[in-house]
Structure formats: structure tokens, C-alpha cells
Symmetry: C2
Subunit: 357 residues, 2 copies
């Protein structure tokens, strides 16, 4: 049975990326060694990481004012690493709280200095994006989560502010065109749109680095990683290689313009279907709906479980909502074929027909 992968992350990858990744395990780039066995300071791997860094900048339209790193540790490490490097205790930092990940980021930031909540939708279960942000003028930075994977909301424009903007783009990077140069720091766990679990992309404006705190553990200091060419310690070689393959694929398919076009097609198609099937209840403000993760429920929890069983029977995986909020979630990342969504919508229609009186 062909599987349809709606996982929220780790998630679906382009078929050709999987093919190339598997081939490189047998023999990497005809060097006679597996990608799993090559040294990270060899010319071979230096080419991999340099091409990956360069493609990140090219695809996002960033110039040499930005540095690109592929780090260990996942975005959760960034929750700590960002304030450790950039939260000046005398100034504090501002955080928009639009979901559980943003909330976790605040808990870490508070270990390093005062935090101002610049906007929050916590009172309404994070079902909308609070757009009017109020930020103390001299904040070290404003942190926000551009797409809320768990709740299914998304900032469709970056917040407007004069303080440095720090964006957790883990679940929507490389899915749309934005003016990324307005951000001072962007981070993203790779396992949604840019590879597999095991590496985190970090992009930093060079002038922001001048505000970095001193006395940071070596491995947490962004400046050290930049000076070490993203090779401060042994990097996650294979994870970075899969990111390179994914970046090449994005470029070949037409870059962010094409990714955005497909993402709009997928999400429009899915939300239109959702709005026409009263059995399924969307949970977030319409204007803030995520193009990456559609979150909804069925009121009758018995029926919701039955629907999940029907998904499993039809080879559709990853539709169960995040364990913190339950419900249903359909993730529609760059590599998801329309065919998978069409089959899912067909199943939803059949199910709806069967169980709506």
C-alpha cells in the first residue's frame, strides 16, 4: 500500500532526495566512501556545507550581511541559545506568544533576563495571532514563532518593529517568499521543509552579532561557530547532506516562488474542503490559518478516533493532533503531493457523508 505522509515533523521528503541520500550511503559522490564515513574536515564535506550555506542565502534572497550555520541540537536548543547570546539582562527581550513552542522559548529566556510579553493569544488557546505587538523600545530583540505547528496558525506578515527580529521558522521556512532580511536571526529545525531531524539551520545578521553577550560556553557561542565555518565540533554530517539535497530540490523546482504557489494551492484546496464539511471543525481564526498545518476536530471524540482509524486503513499517517491539544492535524509541507491531499479530502467527504445525518 502506498503511504500518504501528513506527519508534522519529521515529515515527508521529496522522493528524489530519499533516493540520493540512500545512494550516498553506498558511495558518496564517487569518492569510494559512504557519506556516513567521510571526515567532516575533508574537502568533500567542505563542499557539501559550503554549497548548503550558499543555497540557503540564494533561496532566501539574503546577501553577505548574513551568516548561515547548520548546528546540532534542534530548535529547542535555540530557545536557550538565542537569549544566552543576545538577551542583555539590562534591556530584557520581548516575546510574542502564539503557541506552545513560543511559550517554551520564554521559559528559557527568563533564565537570562527579564522578558516582556509583546502579545499573547494564550487566553484563547493560541487560536489566533496577536498582531498588535507592544514592545519596550530598548528590548534586546523581539522573538516570535512564524508558524505554529501544534495550533495551526501562521504570521502572514512579519511583525513590524524597530528592535531586532528573531524568528523561529522551524515549520514554514522555504515555503514562501518574504523579506527575510528584516530578521536579525532566523532559526529552523530541519525536519520539516529542509531535511531531517538532527540539524538546525541558524541565520544571523552580522551586525546583530556585535551585541552578543560574553562568557558563553564555547559550543553555545554563535560567533565561535561562524569563526569555525560551521565546523566548530563534528557537525551532523548526514543531516546536513540531506539538507543540501533538499535545498537543491527546492531550487530545481523553482525556488520559493514555486514553493509558495504550491503551498497556496494545497492549503486553499484543503481549507475549502474543510469549510464545506460541517462534521470537521476548524479551530483557529480564519485569517491566521497556517498553510503548513491545518488543525481541526470532530466534536464527537468517538467519531474522531473512527476517522483516525479510517486514515490508517487508507495508508494516511500523521493526522492525529499534537498530544498537548488532541484533535486532528494535516501537515502540508513542500514535499507533499497534491494526490495525497486529494485522497484525504475524498476520505473526509465519504466519512462526512456516512456520519452526518
Amino acid at each position: 500500500m502506498k503511504m500518504h505522509n501528513f506527519n508534522s515533523g519529521p515529515s515527508i521528503l521529496p522522493r528524489e532526495v530519499l533516493q540520493e541520500a540512500a545512494e550516498a550511503i553506498y558511495n558518496f559522490d564517487t569518492v569510494g566512501l559512504s557519506i556516513l564515513e567521510i571526515g567532516h574536515r575533508t574537502e568533500w564535506f567542505i563542499h557539501v556545507i559550503e554549497e548548503a550555506k550558499s543555497l540557503v542565502k540564494e533561496l532566501l534572497g539574503l546577501d553577505d550581511n548574513f551568516e548561515v550555520l547548520f548546528l546540532h541540537g534542534g530548535a529547542t536548543t535555540q530557545f536557550m541559545q538565542v537569549p544566552m547570546n543576545f538577551l542583555e539582562a539590562s534591556k530584557g527581550a520581548a516575546y510574542c506568544v502564539n503557541g506552545i513552542w513560543g511559550k517554551k522559548a520564554i521559559t528559557e529566556a527568563k533564565l537570562f533576563g527579564p522578558v516582556t510579553i509583546a502579545g499573547s493569544s494564550a487566553g484563547k488557546n493560541y487560536t489566533f495571532i496577536p498582531k498588535d505587538v507592544s514592545i519596550p523600545e530598548n528590548s534586546s530583540y523581539l522573538h516570535f514563532t512564524s508558524n505554529n505547528t501544534v495550533e495551526g496558525t501562521q504570521w502572514h506578515h512579519f511583525p513590524k518593529t524597530d528592535v531586532p527580529l528573531v524568528s523561529d521558522m522551524s515549520s514554514d521556512i522555504f515555503s514562501r517568499k518574504m523579506d527575510f532580511s528584516t530578521c536579525s536571526l532566523i532559526y529552523a529545525g530541519a525536519q520539516k521543509n529542509v531535511g531531517i531531524a538532527g540539524t538546525t539551520l541558524v541565520i544571523i545578521r552580522k551586525d546583530f552579532l556585535e551585541h552578543k553577550n560574553a562568557g558563553i560556553p564555547a559550543i553555545m557561542d554563535y560567533k565561535n561557530h561562524i569563526d569555525g565555518g560551521s565546523l566548530l565540533n563534528t557537525p551532523p554530517v548526514f543531516a546536513i547532506y540531506v539538507s543540501l539535497l533538499t535545498l537543491r530540490w527546492i531550487k530545481k523546482e523553482g525556488g520559493l516562488a514555486e514553493m509558495e504557489k504550491r503551498s497556496l494551492e494545497r492549503s486553499t484546496f484543503f481549507y475549502e474542503a474543510l469549510d464545506q464539511l460541517p462534521l470537521f471543525l476548524p479551530t483557529v481564526a480564519k485569517e491566521d490559518r497556517s498553510r503548513m498545518n491545518a488543525v481541526f476536530t470532530i466534536e464527537d471524540k468517538g467519531l474522531e478516533n473512527k476517522f483516525l482509524e479510517a486514515c490508517t486503513e487508507n495508508g494516511m499517517v500523521g493526522i492525529k493532533g499534537h498530544r498537548s491539544i488532541g484533535g486532528l492535524r494535516v501537515s502540508m509541507y513542500n514535499a507533499l503531493p497534491m494526490e495525497s491531499l486529494e485522497l484525504l479530502v475524498k476520505l473526509m467527504e465519504q466519512f462526512s457523508h456516512q456520519y452526518t445525518s
Copy 2:
């Protein structure tokens, strides 16, 4: 040309591990998804990580007094994470310095409290293991590096002490039988004997955890990772899977007894040859020679480069010494076939014959 891989890490893996890893990218365990695409909270992956944790304990002969974690970040992160969790500022910690990695570990520890040097070979370029350790009685712990990958020395017995023992076993874990239960914490980057770059194995005695510091960033707190079943955040799924395949291979081949036997055969064979070829100069104390990494030089640097060229021409990679000390290094990890070593020794003999007057 068949390649012979003497890399110090990332390093050679068993052929069947590579084969199985590549196959799992096409289709993992017949679930119809790639190992690169499965969710980390699925039953499938829970089985992977639980089997890996259980095999670690079985192979090392550890009971349920120990917890096993597979973390992000590499051993360098542990240089910081160990003192962050366990260095009590009022007590300080003791460190044996037998190589550049141990020295780096101290730099990080000092950020969290006072450090006593319990023994050091820094004055002699780390060419021996200082065995008489002198430790303040109430130290939080004694940290040592069991094998020095760069310099080619190894502790053939664990240091004797009453304070909790913390061991960086990145480059010799799973290569020999020891009483691992005398350690309170063991950590090891996976990319030598237990998989690929991208995950770090951490083993902690439960009673040691009771001494953990408070107020630690969530992602750095070992207790959080244990409570989260090594799934606190999205783990490096594929890297952990390769560790599982490697652990299965070690068990199937005969466990640590067999790994030790092979390691002794390899290192004895190589050092005997080295001692008979006066062109090549071993650099460390004979009694402290590492069974994992043999480090040596040729006095004439022009000839040393010529030898490296001859290695390359013969498909032998990874023999150049670490950039911090230069020279030559031959790494002989678990997966290295005797055939590779035999061919290397033959080349050394020919070279020696040609250039020794």
C-alpha cells in the same frame, strides 16, 4: 579502487550497517515509510530507541541503576552540560588533562565553578597518561578522557577514586570490557564505535542524578531527558537508528569480549610493525598507547607528505594527524578489517625500505 578507511571520526562502519541504513531510507521495517520520514513519537521509533538503550546496557553490563540517553550535540556539548548539571560551585570538580579534548572540557567547566587539575601531561605534549591522580575529597566529580583520539594515548584502567567518575569515552566505548559500573557518567559522541555524527550517548547512574544542580535550561537538564524517555525534543532519528544497527552488529559479532579481542589483534599487529620500522617514530609512552588511534611521525616532513601521498594513491584515507599536532595517525575502530591494516603495514614496509638508507 577499494578504499581503506582509517578516519578518526566520523569513521568506518560495518558494511552491513551501511547496507541496512540505506535500505531503511527506502522503506523502514516494512512500514512503507522511510526512516527519514517517520515521526519520533510513533510506536516504530519508540521500538528503535528502546532497543538501542537496552542494548547499550546489555553490552556494557550495566543494570537498572543506570539511565541511557541519546542526545543531540556531540561530545563537545557534554563538556558544558556535565558541569552545568553536576559541578557544585561550593565543591568544585577535578579534571585529568591528558589531551586537547580534556583541556577543552576544563575551559567549559570553569564557567560553572572551580576546577582542580588532578593530573596533567600538558608539560609533555600529552604523550602519556598521568596515573597518580590527586583529588580534593569533596569534589563534585573527577572527569577524564578514556582515550585521546588526537594524541593516541589511552587509560588501560579507570582511575581509582572515591568521588564520582565522569568519563569521556567518545573514541573507545564498545571496544573493550571494563567495569563500567564504576562510572557515574559516561558520554560518547557516536561517530567512532557506535554510529554516525549527530548523536551522543550519555549513560548516568541514577544516584548521581540526585546531585544535579537546579535552574538549568530545559534542554540541558539530563533529568528532563530521562523523564521524557530520551524524547524531550525531536531526537536525531536517523543517527539513533544507525547506532541501533551498530549495537546489534556488536552483539551479533560476540559483544565486547570479541571487540576487545579484535582490537588487541589489530593494535598489537600495528604497533609491532611500527616498532620495527625506524623511519616511523611513535610519539607516546609505550605503556599508554591507544588501541584505537596510533599516532606517529616521520622526522623528515617532506617524506611524511610523500608517505601521505602514497597512502592516498593506494586508497588509504584518514592517515593525516590531527591539525593541532600534525604527524600521522591510524585509527583502528571496531569496524576496521585486518586486511586494511595489513595493506597499510605492507605499504609502510615498502616505503621504509625505499627511503631508509
